[in-house]
């Protein structure tokens, strides 16, 4: 045991002397988490989208078109849309170069047609390289169309009056007869206020989880959700790099020389696996500290998370011990390890949200350590102890170790 610990301590010292590769592998998950957090965090309260760039072409320049343009000027809409009023030629040129999400064209004669209650059409030109934002503009315009249609119908008589005013010369207009008309309009406005202030029907939208629990997602929550996936992915890379010593020492003759000492193969194997395990835990600890300091990520009870991390690191050490017992040389090790890690990460949910994946991919994900580590971290954040993920990682880790040790003993004998 003493000799095992001496080899282990020597290995740890050796890796700490040249830590560049490990440091880079630790920077990557933090960098990726930062990038994802910055991009996908809610932009403003209640909005998950950046301001939508809209070009507005007013070919009508009448009362109704001004009302429509004004709708984009309401505070809530100002946060949602970044509107540029322009002429049609410039708008077409800009849309042809993809400089806005959409262009809204209000046709000539829009106000007069509306006052005549004739059907009118608003044109929305959508950016073909964008998949989501142009549709938001289209739906917003659809809603505006419904509202305008409603106003025109509700105040049909008044609208006709305004139309008549526009057609007649000012001097021939019967101003003295306008009093009662204004009175009627006032009554309608007062009646409308009953429905509009406050709105008689409103929506109270909320987001729910499968169990029905309410969620509100902050940037720190996003970091907390993304970081465990990234951390376990690069934990696998780091442990794999460390465990590659098993092969490289065999290749460059160090193993043969070490076994001329009173060191037994089982001690050497034990030291290598323990080295990968201990370094894995250390790496996770550094990532937890960095994630907490930089991103204010939350991990749930620290003791529980460390246990989960220790089990995941043990799994990784046992898995790569077995893999390195099966491959012939460093090249084979590199050729197999990286694809396996990336496949684990892709199916296990390190690279994308599990809920966004096809069902078959999620099923395959059950076979990966990433999935159980991510699930365990999520349970801890929800205040629950991750019994099942820990049991599965520990159980399968022990099984891998049981297969790895005899295989490695055969490869380690001189």
């Amino acid at each position: 045991m003493r000799r095992l610990l001496l080899v282990l301590a020597n290995d740890v010292r050796r890796h700490l002397k040249a830590p560049m590769a490990i440091l880079i592998f630790m920077v990557i998950p933090l960098g990726m988490t930062g990038l994802i957090g910055v991009i996908f965090a809610p932009q403003t309260e209640g909005s998950e989208l950046p301001p939508i760039s809209v070009l507005l072409v007013d070919n009508d320049k009448g009362l109704a078109s001004k009302l429509l343009v004004g709708a984009f000027d309401v505070d809530q809409m100002k946060e949602m849309f970044q509107v540029t009023v322009t002429d049609e030629a410039d708008g077409r040129k800009r849309m042809g170069r993809g400089k806005a999400s959409a262009m809204v064209v209000i046709p000539e004669g829009f106000t007069l047609d509306l006052l005549d209650a004739k059907p009118v059409t608003l044109l929305v030109v959508k950016n073909p390289s964008e998949q989501f934002l142009p549709d938001v503009v289209e739906e917003f315009m659809n809603t505006m169309a419904v509202m305008l249609s409603g106003v025109v119908q509700a105040f049909a008589e008044e609208v006709r009056g305004i139309r008549a005013m526009l057609d007649r010369p000012v001097e021939s207009f019967p101003w003295d007869k306008l009093g009662p008309e204004f009175g009627k309009a006032q009554k309608k406005v007062v009646a409308a206020r009953t429905y509009l202030d406050p709105l008689i029907l409103r929506l109270k939208a909320e987001e729910t989880k499968a169990a029905g629990a309410r969620t509100s997602f902050t940037q720190a929550d996003l970091f907390s959700a993304v970081l465990p996936g990234m951390a376990v992915m690069f934990l696998l890379f780091i442990v794999q790099t460390l465990m590659r010593d098993i092969i490289s020492e065999r290749e460059d003759g160090k193993l043969r020389r070490m076994l001329t000492t009173p060191l037994r193969p089982i001690e050497l194997i034990g030291a290598r696996i323990a080295g990968g395990w201990v370094m894995g835990i250390a790496v996770l600890l550094v990532m937890v500290a960095a994630g907490t300091l930089i991103f204010r990520a939350t991990w749930g009870p620290l003791g529980g998370f460390l246990l989960l991390g220790a089990v995941a690191s043990f799994w990784a050490a046992a898995f790569f011990a077995l893999l390195h017992a099966l491959v012939r040389n460093r090249n084979q090790s590199g050729a197999f390890s990286a694809p396996i890690i990336l496949a684990f990460s892709l199916f296990g949910g390190s690279m994308m949200n599990l809920e966004a994946m096809p069902k078959a991919f999620r099923t395959v994900g059950i076979l990966t350590p990433n999935r159980w580590f991510i699930d365990g971290a999520a349970l801890l954040r929800d205040g629950r102890f991750p019994f099942v993920p820990i049991l599965i990682l520990a159980g399968s880790g022990i099984l891998l170790l049981a297969l790895a040790v005899p295989a490695l003993r055969r490869r380690t004998s001189v």
Partner: protein, 368 residues
């Protein structure tokens, strides 16, 4: 020498996995995700729990109905739903008493955001329709409203289309995922393979032995650069051919798309020689390659549509070579752009290639 380098790299058994099989796996994965972004539920689903004791609940549900919307009814809140609207027991009573009310609309997290937005918009439109009818009805007795009232008419309509001389049909998910994956894997593979082989050749003394032939250090450097450029371009060609055959990939102008990829691969080739000359360990090169390729790909729009990225990040993205390549490929594919449209992008990528080649040339070492 460049041909020999390429032959050695292609001869590696893992080469086809990394340059072809693995990117295709990514293409399929992201292609399916993009497709579902377009949106998986062509018909969005809404579950309505109508507890209303009067007639207005049914009337409101009729107003919500639309061709792109499926309405399911339930007596109580079900365990499984994507979007749920609850009409309370006093829904009619409150309307008839002209008292305001807020309707609970629940969206399940993880369900399609686009479908949720479509349903929510439809609900707002239905509310606007009902309120318009109420205003039109005036101060009359609302208990008799449903026995006869003026119907809402859509006087204002909205028509949508793409700009002239661009696409006529919505591009497929693979038209988004193949260029992004190609650009990302050119970065990753050229830097890893290119960098590691420069390091190995130097460490094993291969570069030093080459100088015994009638070659100068500059010749060796140029050959290394050309070899790595060929690797990147070959990889792109393979992915494009696979994309054309199996996924009906459309890149707009193929020669111009290849030109963009060629210039981009040149910049990555120079970066790989630079990193290979600078690093002393293989693990460092792999780590740097993964770091740079992932950061550049994320910033450059290879993974997600750039439209959802905040404006500040979009400005930062200009430091990513992938941004310039992806932007050029978007101009070609989605806007049917020509040479003049992508000239600024080519200029930036070419300038970057020259700068990186100069820096790599200075860092290039024959011996450690």
């Amino acid at each position: 020498m460049a041909g020999n380098d390429l032959r050695i790299m292609v001869g590696d058994k893992a080469f086809f996995f990394w340059t072809l099989a693995f990117p295709i796996f990514f293409i399929v994965m992201f292609g399916l995700l993009y497709k579902s972004g377009e949106n998986a539920p062509a018909v969005a689903e809404l579950t309505v729990v109508n507890l209303d004791e009067g007639r207005w609940g049914g009337y409101f549900v009729e107003k919500i109905k639309a061709p792109n919307l499926t309405i399911k009814t339930a007596d109580a809140e079900p365990a499984e739903y994507s979007r749920l609207l609850v009409l309370p027991a006093d829904f009619s009573a409150r309307i008839e008493a002209r008292r305001d009310q807020a309707l609970a609309f629940k969206k399940r997290s993880g369900a399609s955001v686009k479908a949720a937005a479509r349903v929510e918009t439809r609900l707002y439109q239905s509310i606007a329709r009902v309120i318009s009818e109420l205003v039109l009805y005036g101060e009359g007795d609302l208990t008799k409203f449903l026995d006869g009232h003026p119907e809402f008419r859509d006087i204002v309509r909205v028509e949508s289309r793409f700009p002239e001389k661009t696409v006529t049909v919505v591009p497929s998910g693979f038209d988004h995922s193949i260029p992004g994956t190609t650009i990302q894997f050119i970065m990753m593979m050229v830097i890893i393979y290119g960098g590691v082989t420069v390091l190995e050749d130097r460490k094993k003394g291969v570069l030093a032995r080459m100088l015994f032939s009638p070659l100068s250090t500059a010749d060796v450097f140029q050959a290394k650069l050309l070899g790595r450029w060929s690797l990147g371009f070959l990889q792109a060609l393979m992915l494009i051919v696979v994309g054309k055959i199996f996924f009906g990939l459309n890149l707009g102008s193929l020669p111009l798309a290849l030109l963009v990829i060629a210039v981009f691969a040149l910049a990555m080739a120079a970066l790989s020689v630079f990193i290979g000359s600078l690093c002393t360990k293989e693990d460092m090169i792999i780590g740097l390659a993964v770091l740079l390729a992932n950061m550049f790909a994320g910033l450059g729009g290879c993974w997600w549509p750039n439209e959802i990225v905040p404006p500040a990040v979009r400005r930062v993205a200009m430091i990513s070579p992938a941004h310039w390549a992806m932007d050029a490929l978007h101009k070609l594919r989605f806007f049917q752009g020509g040479f003049a449209d992508i000239l600024p992008n080519l200029g930036v990528l070419l300038a970057l290639s020259v700068v990186l080649a100069v820096v790599a040339g200075r860092a290039f070492k024959i011996r450690d």
